[in-house]
Amino acid sequence: MSRFNDDNLRLAKEIIGRYPKARSATIPLLHLAQQQEGHLSDEAMAHVAELVGATPAEVLGTASFYEMFKFEPVGRYLINICGTMSCALGGSDELLAHAEKVLGVKVGGTTADGLFTLERAECQAACTEAPNMQVNYRHCHRMTNELFDRLVDDLRSGRRDGDIPAHGTLARVRQQIPAERAVGPAALDDRGAPAWLPAKEVGG
């Protein structure tokens, strides 16, 4: 529905400025667009394309490769239940069935109030803490049906707003490179060895 707002456009340009080639900023910018809108609209992708110097089709090609980008609105909370081996061995099928029942939606569905979207996910790097799930990618370890119910309650009532922002916001802390400390991207036609490397040692 929208292009970047002014603040995000400034941020987008700052992010682009960190890379030797603008196109490298594609994924960070898509995240930023998703943060602004909750999902990726065609206009947002076209704007990203414009900013990184790719065609919109190329940006769509990149975006659609990655699981985290959503092209339709999803719930405020995206619940991802891991179903890969360790979690499956730890009972994730049962957890998923319970979640479907509690939320009243099937995998892939969004609750009528627009709060929850339920997905079945792959390994979340928490295999010792099975079964594991994520809410907007925040890990929830060793889930039980009771923990799940409590979590859903907490989310509904806003008690978790402090640590789980709405879908789209990934990290609440961004990297900031102070201008005076920044080296800047290494130009690709800068063919010389860096200053601290004595010429005789090149090749390491």
Binding site: Y66, S86, L89, D93, H141, I177, G204
Partner: protein, 463 residues
């Protein structure tokens, strides 16, 4: 947080040397203040006091085997970059997504400065122009911790222009992924970092050391690999190789999950610790849950062929495990007890790799899904014995020739050692077949029963 625990899963009982997890017990381990108070950035100072070549030699001397899966020594890898070609880049691989693997996330969440310092040491040693720290998208906490650490480190003068007042200057740029397992493969990681679809590049001719990011020489190293460097610079390679074995020095982080009494992430001594120690040891997992029997385990992440109790006494050492028909991969052990439905367990992995195929090469794109569908049918009790044969045929189309597997006295089988031949570009295709092949080879009776009896049982019988 109700369901998130501090350093979840990390267990440091026992008297084990700690190289990368030494701060994990501290609540504020991730802050600059704590890092500095515990010797942080001293290794960088040591490094800067020496020539880049000396630093590189020190790392080479430590033989730090890559922890991302391939196990290639870091110092040697750095040396593969063509001389005189600049700029050179480092891409830190923080895309941890191999099934069973859980360590890099902890290292980023709990000790981000250690990773930053390791990256700086690498940058100094081989003259890198820029470092990109690629963190898996589904890890916002790691992202926040690393971002905070970088912000602190920039201000404090550890990163950026004229680091610690020297002429060593390098930026570390935090980059986020967006959810695609295959991007962990180093050339796919580079493609992704270039803003493209994360499709692995063909090798040859594109080994990243020579032609990497933007076509320039590029090192890709795993988070854990780099996290070892501050210790090595501070204590010396000689100290490092004193731990572990000659071929596998130092320590490594291993996650043991599944049906064990106490699943956890451990920093173990490399090369000597056995699977039996890990699964049954008191300092480790303390045996199979509920006193059950071990049925099988995956020794090195979801891509690895399976072991059974017969391989328990093998040490965590790459060559030995390879000869026994599997691989160590990314330090991930998944344990199945006797209640496990083997075809269903295999399906959770095959489905993973089929789902995560990038889709560029035919055998993986088509073969992975085909395998998944046939296996699903078998698991659902709708399979036939022709389906079992067909799975092997599909597997042969992905991996012509013999596929590695463990020995099994039950079936009178000798081990077929690693590696395999493959028709695919990367290992995702073969990985979809590995669990099927292991399950069919080591537990043919479970499949036979399934196609005969057409029964359906859940993945895990809840105890």
């Amino acid at each position: 947080m109700s369901s998130y625990r501090w350093a979840a899963g990390y267990i440091d009982d026992g008297d084990r040397p700690k190289i990368v997890t030494s701060r994990f017990h501290l609540e504020d381990s991730y802050t600059l203040e704590r890092y500095l108070a515990t010797g942080g950035y001293q290794a960088l100072r040591h490094a800067l006091a020496r020539t880049p070549a000396e630093v590189h030699d020190e790392v080479r001397g430590a033989t730090v085997l890559g922890r991302g899966g391939a196990g290639f020594p870091a110092g040697t890898k750095w040396g593969l970059m063509p001389a005189d070609k600049y700029p050179r880049y480092l891409v830190v691989n923080g895309d941890e997504s191999e099934p069973g693997t859980y360590k890099d996330r902890l290292l980023m969440e709990l000790d981000p400065h250690q990773l930053i310092e390791g990256s700086l040491i690498a940058a100094y040693a081989v003259g890198l122009a820029q470092v990109f720290l690629y963190i898996r998208g589904e890890m916002p906490l790691a992202h926040e911790r690393v971002a905070t650490a970088l912000n602190e480190a920039y201000v404090a003068g550890y990163v950026g222009k004229n680091i610690l007042g020297t002429d060593f200057s390098v930026d570390i740029v935090l980059h986020w992924g967006a959810g695609a397992y295959v991007v962990g493969e180093e050339t796919a990681l580079i493609e992704s970092l270039e803003g493209k679809r994360g499709e692995p590049r063909l090798k040859p001719p594109y080994f990243p050391a020579a032609i990497g990011l933007y076509g320039q020489p590029t090192i890709v190293n795993n988070v854990e690999t780099l996290s070892n460097l501050p210790w090595i610079m501070a204590n010396g390679a000689a100290e490092y190789v004193r731990i572990g074995t000659e071929t596998s020095p130092g320590t490594r982080m291993v996650a043991v999950s599944g049906h064990v009494e106490r699943p956890g992430v451990f920093e173990i001594v490399n090369g000597t610790t056995t699977f039996r120690d890990l699964i049954y040891g008191d300092d480790f997992c303390r045996g199979i849950r509920n006193g059950n029997q071990l049925k099988a385990f995956v020794p090195g992440g979801g891509s690895a062929p399976w072991f059974t109790a017969e391989q328990l006494d093998l040490p965590f050492e790459g060559k030995l495990v390879g000869a026994a028909g599997s691989m160590l991969g990314s330090g991930a052990i998944m344990v199945m007890d006797h209640t496990t439905d083997i075809p269903a367990a295999a399906l959770t992995l095959t489905r993973f790799y089929a789902h995560e195929s990038c889709g560029q090469c035919t055998p993986c794109r088509e073969g992975g899904t085909w395998l998944e569908r046939v296996l699903q049918r078998v698991v659902d009790g709708r399979g036939t014995s022709a389906d079992l044969a067909q799975m092997k045929e599909i597997g042969t189309s992905i991996c012509p020739g013999e596929f590695p597997h463990a020995s099994s006295s039950r079936h009178g089988l000798d081990a077929t050692p690693f590696p395999y031949k493959m028709t695919t570009i990367c290992f995702v295709g073969p990985s979809a077949y590995a669990p099927v092949h292991s399950a069919l080879t080591l537990f043919p009776e479970e499949f036979a029963a399934r196609v005969r009896d057409r029964v359906q049982i859940p993945v895990t019988a809840v105890q």
